[in-house]
C-alpha cells in the first residue's frame, strides 16, 4: 500500500486482541505494557479516559507547534502592517501616525489565530500520518463498539503463541492481523 509520501510500505504483521468493553481494554493495556511490549497500538472508537497513562503515551507536543506558529503569525501581522503602511507606500490617513499600532492590532490578532490554528491542524496530520490511503482495517467494529490491542511482530520479545495467550487471558478474542 501507499503511504502519504507515495512510498510502498510493508504492512506490519502482528496479533490483534479484540475487546468488547472500555474497562477491559484499559486494564489489558496496562498488562501488555507491564509485559514489556512497546510498539503495540490500542484502537478505540472514542478517546478513553486514562489510556495515555495506561499505554505510556507522552503528553502531546502539539501545543509547541501552536505557540511557535502563533508567534510567527503575530510577527507576520506586525511586519505586514508596518511594511505596507510605513515603508512601501506611506499614506497619511486622518492624520494618524504611519505606524498606527492600535489600529493594526485586529489584523495582527487575526493572523496570530489563523497561523496557530492551521499549523496545529497541519501538525496533527503529520504526527498521525494523515491522510492515509486505504489503511488496513483490523475489524470494522473498532470505530463503532469494539476495542483492540495490536501487538506487532517486530516488538521486543514478540512470540506469537505467548502474545495470543496473554491477550486471551485478558479477555480478548485474538486473530492475526496487519496494521
Amino acid at each position: 500500500m501507499l503511504d502519504t509520501t507515495g512510498v510502498i510500505m510493508a504492512n506490519q504483521q502482528g496479533i490483534a486482541g479484540i475487546f468488547s468493553s472500555e474497562e477491559s481494554v484499559l486494564a489489558a493495556t496496562r498488562k501488555v505494557r507491564e509485559q514489556g511490549f512497546q510498539k503495540f497500538e490500542v484502537l478505540s472508537p472514542y478517546p478513553i479516559h486514562g489510556m495515555e497513562e495506561a499505554a505510556g503515551i507522552k503528553r502531546s507536543w502539539l501545543p509547541w507547534v501552536t505557540f511557535v506558529a502563533a508567534f510567527v503569525g503575530l510577527s507576520s501581522g506586525l511586519a505586514l502592517t508596518y511594511w505596507t503602511s510605513v515603508v512601501s507606500w506611506p499614506i497619511n490617513i486622518g492624520g494618524k501616525p504611519m505606524f498606527s499600532l492600535p489600529a493594526f492590532i485586529p489584523i495582527i490578532f487575526e493572523l496570530t489565530i489563523l497561523f496557530a490554528a492551521l499549523s496545529t491542524v497541519g501538525a496533527l496530520f503529520v504526527v498521525c500520518g494523515l491522510p492515509k490511503v486505504n489503511p488496513p482495517i483490523i475489524d470494522p467494529d473498532l470505530t463503532c463498539s469494539k476495542f483492540c490491542i495490536f501487538v506487532p511482530s517486530n516488538d521486543r520479545g514478540f512470540d506469537e503463541a505467548k502474545v495470543e495467550s496473554l491477550l486471551k487471558s485478558l479477555g480478548a478474542e485474538t486473530k492475526k492481523a496487519v496494521f
Partner: protein
Amino acid sequence: MKRNQLVLGNKTLKQITEDIVQPVETFPSGGWLGLFLSAKMLFLFYIITIGIVVTTGMGLLGVNSPVGWGTMIVTFVFWIGIGHAGTLISAVLFLFRQKWRTSVARTAEAMTVFAVMTAGIFPLIHTGRPWLDFWLIPYPNQRGPLWVNFRSPLLWDVFAVSTYATVSIVFWYIGLVPDFATIRDRAKNKIRKTVYGALSLGWRGTAKHWSHYEMLYLLLAALSTPLVLSVHTIVSFDFAVSNLPGWHTTIFPPYFVAGAIFSGFGMVITLMTLVRMGFPQFKDYVTIDHMEVMNKIIMATGLMVGYAYAAEFFIAWYSGNTYERYAFINRALGPYAWSYWIMISCNVIIPQLFWFKKLRRSIPVMFVVSIFVNIGMWFERFVITVTSLHRDFLPASWGNYAWSFYDTAILAGSFGMFLTLFLLYLRLFPAISIAEVKPVRHVGYDGGHHG
C-alpha cells in the same frame, strides 16, 4: 448532586452509532425531500436575484443617500451573529467542560459554518463591483503597489470574518473525521465506503492519535474562543469607529457579542426543534434538558441585550449631546419606531416567558419564542443601521430607506441558501458527534463511572 442523563435509554455503543448514522444511511423521507426542494427553489431564486443585482447595480436595493447601508449590511450582521452560538457551544462550553454540549455541538457548528458562508456573500456584493473584491486582500500588485488601508474597520472585518470562517470549518471538519471513519467502516455500499473513506483521511483511532487529537481539539477550542469574541467585536467596530450618533458608542462590542450569542441560540433552538421532529431518535441525545439549558442562555443573553438598549438610552441622555439624544428619541418615536418596538418586544419582552420552567421545557413555546428572537435580532441590526443613518446632523440631508422588492428577495433568498446547505448536511454528515457522545453515555446513570 445527581446529574440528569445526557443520553436517554441506556444505549449501547452500537445503538448510539446506529441512531446517529441512520439519516446518512437511509433514503430521505418525503418530508425532507419537500423541505429540500423548497429550500433549493428559494436558493435558485436567490442566485438569480444576486445575478440581477450584480449585473444591474446596487441601486436596485433601497440604499441611497443618506441611508447608504441597508439590507446587505443588516443581513450580513444578522447571519454572522447567528454563527456565534455554534462556536460558543463547540469551543467556549468545551473549555468550561460542559458535557451537555457534546450532542448539540456538531449541528450548532454546522449552523455556524453555513451562517458565515451565507453572511460572507453580502459585503462582497455590497462593494458594488464584486468582480474587484480581490482588492480587499493585501497582495503585491502593479498599482504602486497600493496597499489596503489597515486602519479601516471594514478591512479588519475582512480579516476577522475570513479567519473565523476558516477556523470554524477546520474545527468542524476535525470533529467529523472520526465519525466519517465510523461510517466508512460500516459501509456496505462501495461508493459510500470510498467517499467517507476519503473524508475520514484514513483515521483509525489509535491511542496515540487520540492523544494528539484531543490536544488539537483543546487547542482549537482555546483559539476559537477569543476568535469568536473578536469577530463580532470587529463587526461592531464597523459602526462604533465612525462618528455617527447612534453608532459611535463604546458599549457596542460587548452588546454585539451578547446579541450574537442570543440570536445564535435562537437559531439553534429553531433548528433543533425541527431536527428532533424529523429524526425522532435524536430526542434521546438532544433531550428536553439540553433544550432547557439553551433557553436559559437565551434568557440571560436577552437580558444583557435589554440592558444594553437601556444603557444606550441613558448614555444618550447623560452625554448631553443633542445629536446623540435626538438619535435615540428618533429611534423610539420617529418614522422607524415600529422597527424599534418590534425589536424590544421580540428580544426583551418575549424571552421573559422562560422564567417559567414549564414554558422553557415546552417545545412549541420555545419554537415560537426562538422565531421571535430571530425576527427581533434582524430588526435590531435594522434599527442600528437604518435609524442612525436616516437622520444625522443636518436635517436638510435627512431621508428614508427606500425598501424595494430586491431587499425582500435578498433577505428571503439568503434563508434558501442557508437551509439548502443545512438540509444537505443533515443527510450527508452525522448530525451528532458519535465519538464525543459515547464517552458521556454513562453520565447520570447509577454506577456510571464517568459522572
